[in-house]
Symmetry: C2
DNA sequence: TATTTATACCTAGAAATCAGAGGTATAAAT
DNA sequence: ATTTATACCTCTGATTTCTAGGTATAAATA
């Protein structure tokens, strides 16, 4: 139907300001959604690879010593377009569900 | 994660005003969501059966002659409680996704 | 010192979900 | 004669999602 959390859209959104590595992306989705959206790494990394394959994001390794290396992702122009498509799909979806919940409002709302 | 259309919540919502038969439920979800939410019968009927099993809705056959008989579903008190849980889960989900899309707003908005 | 927590990447398989096709049956419209 | 609409239903293949596992280092805690 579209959207259940649509991880790809969320990734593109958090990358739209600054390039970030995967681990950081997952933490930001968690915190910026007020802990509502939580994705395991088993979901995140495949999603990143798919976005990269599609040309919506690009990766670059950032080597660190001592700590694990980081793969830093940044959004591409094509990715920004895709983000806009996701944004409007989301808006449509919200209004669709809202249309149903609203037309059957709870009686006795204070 | 919760919600992708969460058909069960939508069914409970459209049943909260009046009892309806399956075929009518699917048409209302379609129209009241402005054609955004479309479920095939292959999704609808199993969902109805599951809701009935859980005691959230009740069914009664309404015999018709000439036309196919109808199985009319009505929401139970337990179903209304469930609907409220779905409603608040939805609200939380929307604010979660909104939290991400909003903190990375499109530049150049007029 | 041993264990847990945090960092950072990744794959694979099980479970759940979804869309579409198929199946039965009648009546009305084209 | 065929299509559309009504009205119920199941099943299967594809996709999606989640969980659990696997590697490796450093810092904090017990």
């Amino acid at each position: 139907m579209a959207f259940k959390g649509d991880l790809e859209a969320l990734i593109l959104a958090v990358l739209s300001d600054h390039a970030l590595h995967g681990y950081e992306i997952s933490k930001r989705i968690r915190s910026q959604s007020q802990e509502v959206l939580k994705y395991g790494e088993g979901q995140l990394y495949p999603a990143l690879h798919k976005l990269e394959e599609s040309g919506f994001i690009e990766a670059e390794w950032m080597l660190q010593d001592g700590k694990p290396d980081r793969k830093v992702y940044s959004i591409t122009p094509k990715g920004r377009e895709e983000l806009e498509r996701h944004r409007s799909a989301w808006a449509k979806f919200v209004s669709g569900v809202g249309g149903i919940f609203a037309s059957h409002a709870v009686e006795g709302g204070k």
